[in-house]
């Protein structure tokens, strides 16, 4: 089955992951800008990072026949430094012109501090002004419920188009508030935090698969890019058809990301040849 991995931090992963993803049907990955595990001191470090994910990483993925797209943003953890963040944000529009940059992400909240909220708002405004897709990170654990509510409060007082907004890392206690407002939502599959493959399938069965993206953890911490394939297997083992799986794991990312014409991978349908 063909798969799109919509949230993948390739710079933290090996070429072997690309190879195995290609063998398991992954045709495209999208790499949001994220926290490197330490807080960067200089705007230039971010700019080089954006160059890495928008210029170099597509060539590494192409070795395995995988399309690589990316997003640029100051992540919520480093948004704690507003001066640095604003210096980076000023330079982001240059990257919107690059052929594989899809939008602003991941912005959002981590501890929901005033600085984080200010920088999320600034980046949301930038996405609106430049007609870019917007990827919002929600906090990981005990902060998730409050942080997700705060994200929605910030978005609600801004003229965002919900079609263009993807709110990621939702779980059982945050899915309804995101879905009810018409945003795209994402499940992120981790070995022990965020969502698991089985719980993601439960949520799809309970709430439907519309405007839903599923991505596996893939970063420098304990994570497993192949939880996405495990989730597809669980989905199929519960009796859902191949086309239903394609809708969730391929067509939905194609529809959401395809709102940016640079993402030219179209939804597909399986048909029997008669």
């Amino acid at each position: 089955m063909q798969i799109i991995q919509p949230h993948y931090h390739a710079i933290a992963r090996t070429a072997q992951d690309y190879e195995r993803m290609a063998m398991s049907g992954v045709v495209a990955v999208c790499e949001p800008a994220f926290w490197a595990g330490f807080s960067r001191k200089y705007p230039e470090t971010f700019i080089d990072y954006f160059r890495q994910i928008s210029e170099f990483e597509p060539t590494r993925a192409a070795e395995f026949g995988i399309r690589h797209f990316c997003w640029v943003a100051v992540n919520p953890k480093e948004a704690e430094n507003p001066g640095l963040s604003r210096a980076v944000i000023e330079q982001m529009p240059e990257f919107f012109k690059k052929p594989t940059v899809l939008g602003v992400g991941e912005t959002g909240l981590h501890k929901s501090s005033p600085s984080e909220c200010e920088i999320m708002e600034a980046q949301t405004q930038m996405a609106i002004d430049h007609d870019q897709l917007l990827l919002i990170h929600t906090p990981h654990l005990g902060d998730k419920l409050h942080g997700t509510r705060r994200v929605l409060e910030i978005l609600e007082r801004m003229p965002v188009n919900p079609d263009k907004v993807w709110i990621d890392h939702v779980e059982e206690h945050t899915i309804r508030m995101v879905k009810d407002r018409g945003y795209w939502l994402g499940f992120t599959l981790y070995p022990i935090t965020k969502c698991s493959p089985k719980r993601a399938v439960d949520l799809i069965e309970k709430y439907g698969g519309e405007r839903t993206l599923v991505n596996s953890s893939a970063d420098w911490g304990p994570s497993d890019p192949f939880l996405l394939q495990e989730c597809i297997l669980e989905f199929r083992r519960r009796g859902h058809s191949l086309q239903e799986a394609i809708e969730i794991f391929y067509n939905n990312p194609a529809r959401y990301l395809g709102q940016n014409p640079k993402f030219d991978i179209k939804p597909i349908r399986v048909e029997e040849i008669r």
């Binding site: 022990i192 935090t193 089985k198 719980r199 439960d202």
Partner: protein
């Protein structure tokens, strides 16, 4: 040997994950029953064992042999 705070630190997230998986499994079972599935599982011995295990886990005064007690719950009765 780890101290009690260290044990909690090392195992907190994994325990949270295991509890969530169990909760989601019981939710899945309830949804299946509500969706017209057979209600016969309530008398299924395996479900009764799961519920009995939860009682052991919820007992704050339990002795530190919970794993052994749960394994005994899931053991086949001796023959003869």
């Amino acid at each position: 040997m780890l101290s009690a705070p260290e044990v909690l630190d090392h195992n907190y997230l994994e325990s949270r994950c295991l509890l969530l998986e169990l909760a989601a499994t019981l939710d899945r079972l309830d949804r299946a029953r509500a969706g017209g599935g057979s209600d016969s599982v309530e008398s299924d011995d395996r479900l009764q064992r799961i519920r009995a295990s939860l009682t052991i886990l919820a007992d704050r005064d339990a002795t530190p042999d919970r794993a052994e007690r749960i394994l005994r719950l899931f053991s086949d009765p001796a023959e003869g």
